[in-house]
Symmetry: C2
């Protein structure tokens, strides 16, 4: 048993728990001499984790930011917090970090003790955002597939096609791709004997089978998925004219959600993709400036309907 390995890990843990420790404190906690602590610190440094030290009264050891990230030692509560946050970020619509978030989640999920897994589920169930009563993508599906891809092992899931057909699929999973606001799986379909892409929001009960396989030559995943998506990522593209300058509007509308362009005369044009017109209607009107719908006509209908409901409710 490597007693020293464990001790170095504990040291790392301690240094993460509290920013500053004196050598004697650490020595007590670790049950060794201060000399050994110094040696352990030396070891950590040799491993690439920059431990800064300050002399004099009030000084001590401190773990700093280095070139590489040291292993993160989380306690139970923290692990749950991380898992929950990642699930929300991955399943939701946070831009840009989807795939990495899923990878982290898969890592964490693999080693998460059962009792904590239950807790994560509890918090998630209680925290479905009011904005999306129906979660766009089940984080469990994401994790299961990410894991199967990593192993690599075959996976199965129930898939509902656009026309409503439901069937069980058996695949060799290759890549997860986030495109538009959706998640896609590129995989070798074992029944069709060909490459296919699947929308994750149409899957259910995805899981690895334990059957390992040897990856075959695969086409470029991102290209392949793009080619497979015939329909636009959003059902609607909304365009509205706002009685405020582009600068003013842009201050309240993040660039990932919509494009804002000046339209002369202190007006601007806002363009946003969406599946849910109510959502757009609300947020555009909420900005407070007068708005005119340019397209689509359905947005006008949605606004009228929402307006009528609000009028009815307020009387």
């Amino acid at each position: 048993m490597g007693d020293t390995t464990q001790r170095v890990l504990s040291l790392l843990n301690l240094l993460q728990q509290r920013p500053v420790w004196t050598g004697t404190e650490l020595a007590e906690r670790l049950g060794v001499t201060t000399r050994s602590v110094r040696r352990d610190v030396e070891r950590l440094r040799a491993l690439g984790y920059p431990v800064r030290a300050e002399h004099g009264t009030g000084g001590g050891y401190q773990l700093g930011a280095g070139k590489a990230l040291p292993p993160l030692l989380l306690d139970d509560e923290e692990a749950v917090a991380v898992a929950v946050s990642l699930r929300l970020a991955a399943g939701g619509t946070v831009a840009g970090l989807g795939e990495a978030a899923v990878r982290s989640l898969a890592k964490l999920d693999q080693v998460l003790p059962a009792r904590l897994r239950a807790e994560v589920k509890g918090v998630i169930d209680a925290t479905v955002s009011l904005d999306s009563p129906v979660t766009p993508v089940d984080a469990d599906v994401l994790v299961a597939l990410a894991r199967a891809i990593r192993t690599p092992e075959r996976a199965t899931f129930d898939y509902t096609k656009a026309d409503g057909d439901r069937s069980e699929r058996r695949v060799e999973p290759y890549r997860l791709v986030a495109a538009g606001r959706r998640w896609y799986l590129m995989a070798w379909d074992l029944d069709r004997d060909d490459w296919r892409t699947f929308r994750l929001d149409r899957m259910a009960a995805a899981r690895g089978t334990g059957w390992r396989f040897k990856p075959r030559e695969a086409p470029d995943a991102v290209e392949f998925v793009r080619a497979s998506i015939t329909q636009a990522p959003y059902r609607f593209v909304a365009k509205v004219r706002i009685a405020a300058s582009a600068n003013e509007v842009a201050q309240f509308v993040p660039s990932t959600m919509a494009v804002v362009e000046p339209d002369g005369d202190g007006h601007s044009i806002l363009t946003a993709g969406a599946d849910d017109l109510d959502y757009i209607a609300y947020h555009v009107v909420r900005l407070g400036w007068p708005v005119t719908v340019i397209e689509p006509p359905e947005l006008r209908d949605a606004m009228r309907r929402l307006g009528e409901r609000l009028a009815a409710a307020s009387s």
Copy 2:
């Protein structure tokens, strides 16, 4: 230099990167004999991390879920994803995991390499939710304070009181408390020489000073904060009657956001706290069922105003 310590850490890393490895694969990667790999695996097990092994073709080593969480080894992208997710969860309004999320964030933040920190900032800036153009609480403030509390070291920040007075405060920080939808800091105010609570959303430029202090006897933080909050956590408590059964409504409204009670005759009463009545107005009406406002009258006004704007925009 503990060559073996490093190797064990690498092994842990490898096992997290991909679920299944054969002994020979690991031996190659680590540059040792398979015998040593077996010994390293043994070491990991002794450290409490359950490494499962499967015999036969297609077998291999696999890191399983144990009693304790092993140190998480993240690559750059993953670290960014975790940091961003945590910031969103901590700064936002996710119920229940606030304090643990902040703790994890502080841990991660302490060791996050500079280049990644810049990346995190970039993603965050681009991802402010459309729902909250103004972030309720700056995650940087949270992290700075959490860190100062842990060290412990004195902190300073600019504070804007309810009456608009702005001043710089110097404190010995003690606890962060999430109450209602707000974050509070309980601290010893060095200028007033007394315990005070501060709302984090009224702070700016919070940072540790590097001045360490010895914690003094402190009253119970949660109690103290509760007592200090004279005003309700929300500015408004909205109550509406919905023409749908409590069961139907509850299906679309998470229990953390609102309380739904049956009101006889297939109707139900929804109660929710909020600072932003537009938000409540939209989400309640969006459910699709006819709604009657019970209180507050301001909600009725908000609905009328929003309704008029929508009507105007749709014509």
